[in-house]
Structures are given as C-alpha cells and as structure tokens.
C-alpha cells in the first residue's frame, strides 16, 4: 500500500518537474531565436539618426524618490546625459525624511513653481512643484509619504506632459542609449504599442563613474552573483519569449516605457498592491482585451538599466517577500482572466503558468522536502530515486543558467572578463545547493502568511549610492 502511494507521489513530482522543465526549455528556445532577430534589426538600425530624428516621440521620465539622498543627484545627472532628442525628468519626493529635497535644491537651484498640474490619475495631494533655474526639463514634486511607490508615480504622471512615460527608480542607472532603444517598438507600431520593457541588470561589482557603468564585472558578493544569474534567466530566457507570444505579463518597475494615455485610461498605478508593476500590465491587458482593441506589450533585450541587488539575507528576504506577495495579490485580483480564451495566450498559457509554477512551485517544492523527511524517518525512502531526481533537477538548473549566460555572451556581448563568466558558471552549480531551496521556503512562508490574511509592506533596502567603486 505504502509502496504504491510512494510510487504515485514520485510520479506526480516527476511529472510536475518535467512539465516545468519543458516550459523553461521552450521559453528559452523562443527567446534565443527572437533575441537574435531583434539584435540583427538593431545592428542595421543606425542609432545616430534615430537620436537626432525629429520624429521620435518625447518622453517624461518619472523617478519616485523616498530617502534617496545618497544617490538622487547622481541619478538625475545621469538621466540628463541620456542620448535622446527630447525628454523631461519628473522627480517625485515621496515625503522623504532625509535630505533628498535639500540635495536636489542645492544641486539644481530649485524654486517653487506655480505650474498647474493635470490631475489625470488619483494620487495623494501634491504639496509643492519645483522647477530648476539651471535645467529647463527638470520638475520636482513633493508629497506626503503614503501608498508606496505607485502613488508617487501617479503624482509624476499628473505633472508629465509628454505622450510617453518612462518609469524608473532613483537608484537605477539607465544606460545612455536605453531610451533610444526602448522607444523602438513605439516607432515600429505606434498605434498598438502601449508598453515596452528593457532588461534589468545587477550593478553590484561594476565600476560606475558619473552615474554611468564604465566596466561590467560580476558581483563579488555571492548573494548578488546568484541574483545576477536569476535576472539573466528571468529576462533573457523567459520574458523575450513571453513578449514574442504576445503574453508578456510584467514590465519591471525599475525600467518601463508606457504610452501615457493608456496608463491614464486604466487609472494609473494601483496603490493597493505591492506588485504595482505586475498589476499595471495585467490591468492594461484586461482593459484592452475587454474593449477588443489591438495592442501589444513588448520586451526587448538590449535597453539596459542597472540596479543594486540586496547583499544580505534580510534585505533579499524582504525583497522576495514583497515580490511574491505582489504576485499573489495580482493573480487573485485578475483571476477571471485565467483560462479564458478571450485573453489570448496570456489567459490560456501565461497566467496558468504563473499559477502552476510561480505560485505552486514553492508549495510543491516545500511539500517535497517534507515528504522526503517523513519518508526517511518512516524508513520508506527510495534513496537511489531521490538522488537521481535531485541530480536531474540540478543538471537542468545548471543547463538553463549556463544557456542564459551564453545567450548573454552571444546576443548582447557585454564584454565581461572570462574570469567573471567562469565565476558565474560556478555559481550556476552552487545555486542549486541551498539558495534555490531557501527561496522556495521563503515564498512558501509568504503564501501561508497571505492565506492567513497578514499584510505586507515595502520595507527598506540599504543603499550604497552610485560612487561605489
């Protein structure tokens, strides 16, 4: 009896695992082909002409800032040097308790402005609007802290004037050509494109000068190095494919370009979830599909934004808790889209994928560890099968990570030293020995907390600022 039960359980776990691996493998193959096609087009794109063309749409860059005194001036300086024909920078000081506003005022000679705002999306009252005596395209808003990043971005939307909206973070470093690259889908299909995303990379370990990444290196901190691999897998080996399938469900909050009118139509960013970036994209899909309008949400792999990864377990756990809580909230909010053909591949494939593997994955994995433990105690553990299964899982994880690493080399060629690539390859093996399991247990814990109705918060991540090297 117990042998039959164990056989069925083992078969279920194996089937689940094979299905997951099949999905990953398919996504990787689609991503590889699609990124190749995209990079070829870019190679013949003549960037110089695009930058100077009068026909590229102007962009409002919105930077929400809460206690960012360490990096806010460097961040704005870096944005000012972006290679793009016309853009404005809207910094929203979200009730900082440090010297964020003072730093901006000193650096850019801010003065209070009477500039009226168009309140197109709801947000908490904006206290003051500042313009710069030195830089005509800089606007700074101040508001009381509350409702998180979303509310600050919504305030920025109300002060923006251009048809495209770039949302980023104060601690993110946009590459100088990032805007010019990410705007391409809006030029290719201007009526349909409502959002576009670029790749988010880990800045830890890189050299930064004047708000620009001057030398790409792998992080020295093991946690950050492990996250580098995770980001490569998530962006290069997955989102490119979802974008190709027309089912991209996430434009990262660290860097996304949106059509302003589309964001305004859905009421801006939601202030009632921790996954505001995921919520916005699902909301856009829902809204445009309901209205049967042609639209597309695109990911392209070459516009790069660099962001700082947590280097301590506490900060990492806080970040992952927030992400997973956001995912659960959003999936539940838009549960009516799941398995509904009217939402296309998003509803029939992408959302079930998220439910099954992103939400279900940690549950299955943690359950698996528990069953192994109980089986060992009871004495019915099939050790050879378990060893083989673990080895297979590890082999697939390593293969996928290395494939993403190779894709980065072949397609994007960031020119990392061989030593760093070799180090990341080693981490591709090491991440299977504890790191993945830890993430699964954390996510399992969050799922339990959410089911018990416990609320989460944004928390804070210690910043090192741009002048780290």
């Amino acid at each position: 009896m117990s042998t039959t039960f164990l056989f069925i359980v083992s078969a279920c776990f194996l089937g689940y695992f094979l299905l997951l691996d099949l999905c990953y493998a398919l996504l990787f193959m689609i991503s590889f082909l699609e990124s190749g096609r995209h990079m070829r087009r870019v190679a013949f794109g003549d960037r110089r002409k695009m930058i100077t063309s009068p026909f590229v749409p102007p962009i409002s860059i919105i930077i929400p800032a809460y206690n960012e005194e360490e990096c806010i001036v460097d961040s704005v300086d870096a944005l000012r040097l972006l290679e793009y024909s016309q853009f404005e920078i809207v910094v929203v000081d979200d009730g900082s308790t440090d010297r964020t506003l003072a730093r901006l005022t000193e650096a850019y000679q801010l003065t209070v402005s009477h500039q009226p705002l168009r309140m197109r999306v709801p947000c908490q009252p904006i206290e003051r609007v500042f313009t710069s005596q030195r830089i005509p395209n800089l606007v700074v808003l101040t508001k009381q802290n509350g409702n998180g990043k979303s509310d600050a971005v919504n305030a920025g939307i109300n002060a923006s004037r251009y048809p495209l909206l770039c949302v980023s973070d104060a601690d993110a470093v946009l590459e100088k050509d990032a805007l010019e690259r990410v705007v391409r889908p809006f030029l290719e299909r201007p009526r349909e494109t409502i959002a576009a995303a670029g790749i988010v990379r880990i800045v830890n370990g890189c050299s930064i000068r004047s708000g620009r990444v001057t030398e790409v290196r792998a992080p020295r901190n093991p946690l950050a190095a492990l996250q580098t691999l995770e980001y490569l897998r998530a962006f290069l080996a997955s989102r490119t494919a979802w974008s190709r399938l027309g089912a991209l469900f996430l434009v990262s909050g660290a860097f996304g370009l949106f059509r302003t009118d589309a964001v305004v139509e859905v009421g801006g960013f939601s202030t009632t979830t921790l996954g505001e970036d995921l919520e916005l994209i699902l909301h856009l899909h829902h809204h445009f599909r309901e209205q049967r309008r042609h639209y597309r949400v695109v990911f392209i792999p070459d516009p790069v934004v660099w962001t700082e990864a947590p280097e301590t377990f506490a900060a990492l756990r806080n970040q992952r808790d927030r992400w997973h809580r956001g995912l659960l909230e959003c999936l539940w909010r838009y549960r009516d889209m799941t398995l509904r053909p009217r939402y296309g591949l998003l509803g029939c494939v992408a959302l079930p994928y998220l439910w099954l593997f992103e939400v279900g994955g940690p549950l299955v994995e943690t359950l698996g560890y528990a069953i192994v433990l109980v089986s060992a105690i009871v004495g019915v553990l099939n050790a050879p099968f378990l060893l083989l299964f673990v080895l297979l899982a590890m082999a697939f994880g390593v293969a996928l990570s290395l494939s993403a690493l190779l894709m980065d080399e072949v397609r994007l060629g960031r020119g990392q030293p061989v030593r760093d690539v070799a180090m990341l390859a080693c981490y591709a093996v090491l991440e299977n020995l504890g790191y993945r399991q830890l993430l699964a247990i954390w996510r399992f814990a969050v799922t339990v907390q959410v089911l018990r109705g416990k609320k989460g918060s944004w928390g804070a991540m210690p910043r090192r600022g741009f002048q780290q090297d």
Partner: protein, 356 residues
C-alpha cells in the same frame, strides 16, 4: 526503465552544460583571433590605401581577405571625404566589382543578406546603386525597405526623391517614419515632390509629408500648408499643417493660423496657438490672450507658452493674466513667467520681471 531514462537525461544535461562552457571559451578565442587578424590586415594595407585615396596611386593586387580589408577601409574614408577623393573611391568600388556584388546580393533569398547589401550600397554612394535600391523599396521585408531608403537618402540623388516620398505611405509605420527622417536630411530639394504627395490620395503619406515639410522649414511649402489648414476635412492633416507652419515660422501664414484658433478641433487650435507663438509677431498677443480662455487644457497651455515667446508685449499680457480669476490661467501664466525669469537669469532670454 524510468531510472535509465532519468540517468540519460541527467548525463545529457550535464554534457550540454559542459558543451556550453567549451563553446563560450572557443567563441571568445575565435573572436579575439579574428580581431587580431583584421588588425594585421589593416596595418598591412594602411599605407597603400592612403596613397590611393590621397594621390591616386594604384592599389596592388590582393587576396580575397585583403580586398575585404581594403573595401572596409575605403568605406570608412568615404564616410568623411567629399570631392575628388570620394569620387576616386566610388570609382574604385565600382571598378572592383564591389557595387555589382552588393547589387546582386539585393536579390538574395535571405533577408538579412539583402539588408546587409542595401546598407553597403548606401555606404558606397554609387549612382549605379540608385535604381536597384529604388526597386528594393518594394521588398517584402520592412527591414530591407527601411535600409534601402536610408541608403538612397545617403546617396542623395534627385531621381530617388520621388521613390522615397512615395515610401512615406509604406504599410510599415517603422519604415515610413525612417523614410520621413531621411527626407528631412535630404532637405529643400525634396520639397516639390513632397508637395505632390501632400495633394495625393494616400492619407498616411500625405500626413507624413506635411510633417516632413515642417521639419525641412522651406517657405515654398507655406501656401500649400495654409491651404490644407483652411480646407482639409481631415483633423490630423489640419493639426499637422498648423504645426508645420509654426516650424517654418513664416509671417505669410499669420491670418490662416489666427483663423485656425477657432477651429472645431482642439488639436488644431492647440497647434495653431503654438505656431502663432513661433511666429514671434507681437500683433498676435490679443488673439492669444482671448484664446487662453479656451475650454481645452492643451489650447490654454499652448496659448500661455506662445505668449511667453512674444517678447515684451507677450510678457505684459502674461502679467495681466497672472491676476486672472481663473485659477488655471493664473497659475499657467505665472509658471511661464517663472520660466522666462529663469531663462533671463541664465542669459537665455531677455527679462520680463514681475513687479509683485
């Protein structure tokens, strides 16, 4: 059986991973080797190529790889040279068969080969490439069409203008927007053809042509644009015409733009307000002051900004409006005055000072 399958999969995946590592290392080594080889080739051929470009000293015979290096070096010179030296390089490229080979590649089955060929032909600037590139504007791939248009603009022959202007109506908006930018770069000699397109049947092409005319800023386009502004039934055409007239900034269009401030569509009124500001004529202060009460947000905003561009008279009007009972008008005018003061402080504009 299951266990054997699992073992096979595990071994295969580890082998794949090992293969990837080997491939990455090998690829890096090959790339570095190729780069060194190319550099050696350039070092070898630098003197003969420079002698050819500057003194017309004939280039010695070379191997296939040598010819590639020479061609690439010549193309780099061609990008920055004009006059006799440029003609000499183009003649060499035509004589050596490089142009003919690229023209032939324009008919390749692989679209990336066609794209590469179209790009090369643009860099070669040979007249022999004009007709094949015009044909390539009808290629099935939008990438080929886009690059062919860019190459035609780079060669800059008058016979290409009509084909390019027609391509403004390309079914791909990407291609059309790139063609528009190319036409702007070609400048005034594209104007007569663009005016033909403006009066043509294809709406998308006509709207793009109006935008391009505005960017070229040639006063010859003013009568046609003013006519469109007054008579066109298409809102987009009228708005783009108003915008283009503002870019050209010819006083000839003043009356039509003043009339456009009463257009039914707010988009047209907003563009007309900006255009009147761009004309810089203080006579338009009154009409802009009146239009600032428009019910559309954009029109009010553009009127205030336009007044800010009309010198002292505009500044005085803004000062008066900054005490308006309408809060929006008041704040917008104050914001424009603040901008003017900031510009005056940095020496970008003459001062308009608020007294209170």
């Amino acid at each position: 059986m299951t266990q054997q399958l699992l073992i096979f999969c595990t071994v295969a995946l580890f082998a794949w991973s090992f293969g990837l590592v080997v491939f990455t290392v090998a690829m890096r080594a090959i790339t570095a080797w190729r780069r060194r080889r190319w550099q050696r080739g350039e070092d070898t051929w630098r003197s003969p190529v420079e002698a050819f470009v500057l003194n017309d000293t004939p280039l010695p015979a070379s191997s296939r790889s040598g010819r590639r290096v020479i061609r690439e070096m010549l193309l780099r010179y061609l990008a920055v040279l004009h006059g006799e030296e440029a003609k000499r390089i183009v003649a060499y490229l035509e004589g050596s068969g490089s142009v003919a080979a690229a023209v032939q590649q324009l008919r390749a089955r692989n679209r990336w080969r066609r794209v590469a060929a179209a790009s090369q032909l643009g860099r070669m600037r040979s007249q022999l490439a004009v007709q094949p590139l015009i044909t390539a504007l009808h290629d099935e791939s939008e990438d080929v069409r886009t690059v062919a248009a860019r190459s035609l603009a780079a060669i800059g022959r008058p016979e290409a203008v009509h084909a390019l202007a027609t391509a403004l109506g390309d079914q791909s908006r990407w291609t059309a927007s790139r063609v528009a930018a190319d036409l702007v770069e070609m400048g005034s000699f594209a104007v007569p053809t663009l005016l033909e397109i403006v009066g043509g049947e294809k709406k998308e092409a006509a709207v793009s042509a109006v935008r391009v005319l505005g960017e070229i800023r040639d006063p010859r386009a003013v009568p046609s644009l003013a006519e469109i502004l007054q008579r066109s039934g298409d809102l987009n055409m009228r708005a783009q015409a108003a915008r283009a007239l503002g870019k050209i900034a010819s006083l000839q269009a003043t009356e039509r733009l003043r009339t456009a401030l009463t257009d039914d569509a707010w988009q047209v009124r907003a563009q007309a307000a900006t255009a009147l500001g761009a004309l810089g004529d203080p006579k338009n202060v009154d009409i802009l002051t009146a239009a600032i009460a428009d019910h559309s947000w954009w029109v009010r905003r553009n009127c205030a900004e336009a007044l800010g561009r009309l010198g002292t008279a505009g500044g005085q009007a803004l000062l008066l409006l900054s005490t308006s009972p309408d809060r929006y008008v008041r704040d917008r005018c104050l914001a424009v005055l603040e901008e003017l003061e900031a510009a005056a402080d940095t020496g970008r504009q003459p001062a308009v000072r608020r007294t209170s």
